[in-house]
Symmetry: C2
Subunit: 307 residues, 2 copies
Amino acid sequence: MSIVAVGSIAFDCLTTPSGRADNILGGSCTYFSLAASYFTDVRVVAVVGEDFTTEHEDIFWKRKVDTRGIEHAKGKTFRWGGQYLDNLNEAKTDFTELNVFEKFQPQIPREYQDSKFLFLGNIHPTLQATVRQVMNGVKLTGGDTMNFWIKGTRPELLETLKVINVLLINDTEAKMLAMESNLQRAAQRVLSMGPQALVIKHGEYGATIFFREGAFGVGTHPFRAPALPIEEVKDPTGAGDSFAGGFMGYLASQEEINREVLKRALFYGGVMGSFAVERFGTERLQHLTREEIDSRFQVFRELTHLE
Amino acid sequence: MSIVAVGSIAFDCLTTPSGRADNILGGSCTYFSLAASYFTDVRVVAVVGEDFTTEHEDIFWKRKVDTRGIEHAKGKTFRWGGQYLDNLNEAKTDFTELNVFEKFQPQIPREYQDSKFLFLGNIHPTLQATVRQVMNGVKLTGGDTMNFWIKGTRPELLETLKVINVLLINDTEAKMLAMESNLQRAAQRVLSMGPQALVIKHGEYGATIFFREGAFGVGTHPFRAPALPIEEVKDPTGAGDSFAGGFMGYLASQEEINREVLKRALFYGGVMGSFAVERFGTERLQHLTREEIDSRFQVFRELTHLE
């Protein structure tokens, strides 16, 4: 089944220990949709400026991503510059130019509205809620957020969390949202805010999914997927969005969403995140095959499976 | 088969978000031996002062730990005070009084010398090497070290690493020892220093075991065991030593050491670490049953196993 993804398209200027890249295509929606495109049909909703050319759009088309929801606005595309120095887990932002993204009002094309899966990327929670309202026939909504919204727009975010089925955030965001430093207790508190399931991403240590009692199955046991120890992380940008793309894309490809499916989705999330970081920008995500993906899925499986 | 453990016995003064405890029995050798005692016979080599009473020794005896290698010296036992504030992963040291531990010269009782397993706790690498030399009939030697020795006694440590089969350290120590910030590459570099296998402990994210090509089996694929998200971490002290105790204790209980056994040992390490932190000091490790341990082993297994 198809999935609608709302988020940012950006041009990034990146410096990592492996080198530099200037003005390369990035943004949460870009990483998400390319990663998800290996599992299901993806339809994007985003805004770009006049510097976004057919050459850039071609990167989406080659992966059969539906770009009718990309609004072409007057001005420049969102630009972000950052560098990873000693710590590949955290970027130091050099500059953020919101440009056309500042006034982004997501418009969902009529043709998108039969999609049963929705991913609300990291945008203002009120915009997320508006999109969810338009997409009132969806079966499952995934969502992301970040420290900026957790701190700055908490009441709005708490409203939006009520309509998100699966929230995907990292450790720091979970603890900040829950105002609780113990991860297990933080997870329980976030689940009480609305989501039926919570995916907490641990960067190079994988991710854990926590379930609300009775949601998608029985019990409250969490489940953890590992991340592959990777010898050369060229560029960590987009790892979390690629994780979300693999996770949500796999879910959208399944008939039924139960805990076993969610667990496999967590593994596929890790797999797509691990591919993303092997090259600069979206390069690695543009030219994968499903065979490569499933073969790495097996490696992830063997990484933690006892005989 | 029995295992000889060399390390520290201490009295700890701890402050955690859950409360305080003063002068409670601690030390790497204590946590290690109690954790290992659920799997095999344990023989300890350590030094204590005159404040170490039969009441304290009784904690070892109750777990049938052989204490003939505990030297009773004139003076006071090693004392450590520390607190965990916001970050349960890292202690802030209030004081360290080495006392009798300062002049510790491990003496291996003749009755211990037929043991086939040896664990060299976190002491001066030259002392570790001396013990290994006396125990020249051992089949497998595990070892620990810390930043202090990595920085201060690097040449001596590099010598000792040549006689350690399995080194157990944490992320920071591995990166510091290898002088390399990428974990996968750091692991390869440490393995080139001597050990056949390297266990890197990730705290609340579990642990990874890396194998040298050809050691204990085929290939170089690492293996990762999760840690359980725990609702109430009362006291993180000794988690790493309890991990090592579970890991080494399980190995010593097995006829053959192959990769499957090492993988299961990694899970048992995580299990014992998870019990240790549930109560202050060694309290939880004193009164477990093998059934409780194996039941938690299953929980760990289910935490990452896909159907």
